[in-house]
């Protein structure tokens, strides 16, 4: 019985390393600056995780003492003296995300489907491996025969450690934050 020969005709695949990670590989350990392009990629990645319902992965983007805030008033000064559509310190944010995975979350039966667009990204201030990024977003949410539209401005405080970007805080100003709103379950 002849051993089956390896086909010599099959071309070897191109090295992923050489194709996808040119030049900079050698200097990767030096932290890259938090420039506009990186911040924008990060925001798009975050939006994709949320649209895909990967809330655990989304939570992993936050620092251990992060907060997430959706004010109830335009120009709201702080989340402590005025109520908020959502104000989660890290502990409550974890609880929120855990609940989203519950089979008994009736307000997500059926699940919402969302589609987000993020644009007009700018860096407000930066330095010391941290920056505040301002962006506009549109989120369409579809659930149980109806579709609604949210729009607003997000402010991410981004920090980086060991080359990874994390969210230290996220504030989402909804255009219609003081309108009568049906329940909000899927985070922005």
């Amino acid at each position: 019985m002849a051993k089956r020969r390896k086909s010599k005709a099959r071309p070897s695949p191109p090295s992923r390393r050489s194709v996808l990670v040119p030049r900079q590989r050698a200097t990767r350990r030096t932290t890259e600056p938090l420039d506009l392009a990186r911040c924008e990629r990060f925001l798009l990645h975050e939006a994709q995780l949320l649209d895909d319902g990967k809330f655990d992965d989304w939570l992993a983007l936050f620092t251990p003492d992060a907060w997430y805030w959706v004010p109830s008033e335009p120009d709201q000064d702080n989340p402590h003296d005025t109520v908020s559509l959502i104000y989660d310190d890290r502990r409550l944010l974890e609880t929120r995300v855990r609940r989203l995975a519950s089979p008994r979350i009736y307000s997500q039966e059926p699940r919402s489907r969302t589609s987000r667009m993020v644009s007009n990204v700018s860096i407000e201030d930066s330095g010391n491996n941290a920056c505040t990024v301002r962006s506009k977003f549109l989120m369409i949410e579809y659930r149980r025969d109806s579709q609604r539209l949210f729009a607003g401005t997000a402010f991410h405080r981004l920090v980086q450690a060991d080359g990874a970007i994390l969210i230290a805080s996220k504030r989402v100003n909804l255009v219609n934050c003081d309108a009568p709103l049906d329940g909000i379950v899927v985070p922005f």
């Binding site: 003296d81 109520v83 104000y87 307000s107 039966e109």
Partner: protein
Amino acid sequence: MSNIDAELARLIAPGRVHRRLYTDPAIFELEMERIFNAAWVYVGHESQIKKPGDYFATRMGRKPVVLVRDDEGQARVIHNQCAHRGAMVVATDKGNAAEFTCCYHGWTYHLDGRVKAVPLNHGYPLGFDPKDPKIGMLPLPRVKSYRGFIFASGADDGPSLEESLGHMMTSLDDMVDRAPDGEIEVAGGVFRHAYDGNWKVYFENLCDAAHPLFTHRSSIDAAVAQSDDVHSDGSGEIAIRQMRQNGAPYSFWESQVGIWTYPNGHSYLGDYHDDSKLVAALNDPVFRQYIAALERKKGKAEAKRVLEVRRWNSNIYPNASLMSQFQQLRVVYPIAVNRTVVHAYSFRLKGAPDQMLRNAVSFANVVNGTGSLVLTDDLEIYNRLDMGMSSEGCEWLQIGRGYQSDVPDAHDGRRGKNSTSEVYIRNMLDAWLGLMTKGQAAPVRAAS
């Protein structure tokens, strides 16, 4: 008794209610006329109109009205409608004004709603008199404040506010008595949440001790699994404690909460929080400071009496629900038979540490927040009630739990022997039938 009255009376039976009460647009229209235009309806709080000229544009039922303090310092409730062509006059939520001006042809009004000036007034027929009391931003015939809470009625006469509130005045008292300085004020913003469903189901749910364990399972489980070692600035801690408390076993809900009902549809559910666990934590330094302030101002005995009142939601039929321990007030606005908006306010206890308001805000976020982990499941229930009741399944809905075990209580009240008795629904429906038929078909049928 008219045919309509008789028909309405047939929709309520001992321990049962016909689903039409919640889904029929004709009944809804009648409710706007016979309940929201006749009963004492909560409009706003004195602290929202402190000075002459201060106004607060709101609604009674669906009617746009303005709550305003006139030049003499009197609180008025006037229809937000120009006498000329009917346009809404006041378009901002709140502010201070010397007069109101319609943006259409410039008619102006005094703060009490009387016409002040009519441009081009020479062109009207001889009989036109802008001083005619029927021409103006017409005042609601009866406006009455009880300890800062302002109610109005569209009926020229009827029971006084005090008669109508009866024993439920003690829930309003409790809200105010908790302030060391004896006064409270609206503070901390407002939630406005909405759902596709009937207004009555919201009210009914607020005294429902049988639903949290089931409806709120997702937030209970998530909160129970939450590590307390994770960073919190205090806000999340309050929320998580509240969610865990919802997870008390049925045996607790049945025997240790308490449900009390009183004439005219009012009711309250006893508190189900252990003070050593929630906002009013006895071992919380802020709460200890608060108790000290209360004792200083009111004396130990009165402070003790105030703190021993333990009520959760107090429903003041037909549109206000208080939670005195945590300074919350919800106001229900029916929009359509299957659409409701609720505004939820927080109050500052004057003379209490500032942190008390911050705790009330954190608490509001979890119990009344549009993005709350708890309330969103309630809103889902209201929506499903509407969808389910619109089907042609069971004609009669069961509201008979506790029917045979409820017991009379002082102040003409009736309470559940078991805290999960649905006596509060039956009590509201008795009031509903009384108002809807002007007392013509008001034998106590649902509750007794």
